[in-house]
Symmetry: C2
Subunit: 242 residues, 2 copies
């Protein structure tokens, strides 16, 4: 069973106040880049893996998706998602991505935002997603970047001139990383970027686009606090197809 940190009160409390929780997709600076990697949404059947409050599921439906299935391990988040959804073409269900059980060959798009770095058996998950897609179907996801996840004690370093750098260590040691983000003891699974991409290839996917998100000039004008994300790769966005 995946650690369900989202249902611990401190984490849920903190997470629910984040820009991406309150404002939805518009609060996630990587969304425009991720959106650009999506196939045309009209008529597609979508599974949203780790759907949280359902922001993407509802967006997909508004863009003309035929059917959307939002899956999440968090009862609290699904409850909130259902409150915000009034369309019968979107359904939500509790699911542990570690042991995903979804029908074979029925989805045109599997989407996931910042959930895969919690998964231990990513090989198994990619195999199940591959089987769940129709031939030619797409997998588009974001994940914390391995360079962001690798360090034993992650944190910025500031030089005498106030320039930031992101010290990397432990990169080649794959396995759990325990961090204290919003709550104590959040467990993430570090893999090298190579391992992640090879797992996709071995599952039968063809890679279409790999993006290490960083802020654009326009992002920096509206959110100057993102400047440090020019120094390191923080999020990885991937699209692949069956």
């Amino acid at each position: 069973m995946t650690q369900n940190i989202y249902d611990t009160p401190a984490f849920f409390e903190g997470y629910s106040k984040m820009g991406r929780s309150v404002q939805g997709l518009a609060g996630a600076p990587e969304w425009p880049a991720l959106q650009a990697m999506l196939p045309p949404m009209s008529g597609v059947r979508v599974v949203d893996l780790g759907c949280g409050y359902g922001w993407f599921s509802r967006w997909a439906q508004e863009q003309g998706a035929a059917e959307v299935l939002g899956l999440d391990v968090s009862q609290k988040m699904l409850a909130r998602a259902k409150e915000m959804t009034s369309t019968p073409t979107i359904s939500y269900a509790i699911a542990d991505l570690e042991h995903l059980d979804i029908p074979m060959g029925v989805f045109d798009l599997a989407y996931s935002s910042l959930a895969f770095h919690y998964i231990v058996d990513l090989k198994g998950l990619f195999a199940r997603i591959h089987r769940a897609l129709v031939p030619g179907g797409h997998l588009v996801f974001s994940i914390e970047h391995p360079i962001f996840m690798a360090p034993r004690n992650p944190g910025w370093l500031m030089d005498d001139e106030g320039r930031k750098s992101w010290p990397v260590d432990g990169y080649q040691q794959e396995g759990p990383r325990v961090t204290h983000w919003l709550a104590d003891g959040v467990i993430k699974q570090h893999r090298t970027l190579g391992t992640l991409l090879n797992l996709l290839i071995q599952a039968g996917f063809t890679l279409s686009h790999v993006e290490e998100w960083g802020p654009s000039e326009a992002d920096l004008r509206t959110r100057p606090e993102l400047a440090e994300e020019q120094e390191r790769p923080m999020m990885l966005l991937v699209s692949a197809h069956r």
Copy 2:
């Protein structure tokens, strides 16, 4: 024209003393990983891009390659390569990878070791390599890892307990990086890993394997000085096919 740092006396002098120059492939710790990514060599026609002393070209010939063309920008290195080669199925030629001019559709394998990070027009080079390969042909190469290349002032950081980390900055700023490795003013071209892979995909390649080389336990027993390479990704090995 690519900067031909290899023919400057200080660089050539330093480079010629390195393990990978003296011992050839056995002196390159990443070689076993790169070798494992190669197709069966029997009967293949090979182009070795940035062949240096020709160690790989000769290895390919010994493995049964039908024909090997070794290309390099350095007169000095090619002269040394020719001295060490006595087989008519290997030919060497001066070539600037920045403006590669090779026949179309004739090679089964394009190989390159640690040369592509000097190339400004990598998009053009990948397009020319793609055209030079037969359908199903392979491109296998190593390149300095973007995380290794990105920093403005690259160098290890040591904590109070003697643990090393590799501070990363400037990752999202693609473009030249001037370093002082063996000689002053060596110019390399930093690109994010995402950009590198997308250039391959856009050129028509399908990615087969992406490896961020790190030392194995066996490597560390014979070469304990490689231990720091567990902390960061230093080299990137990629195989792709047409």
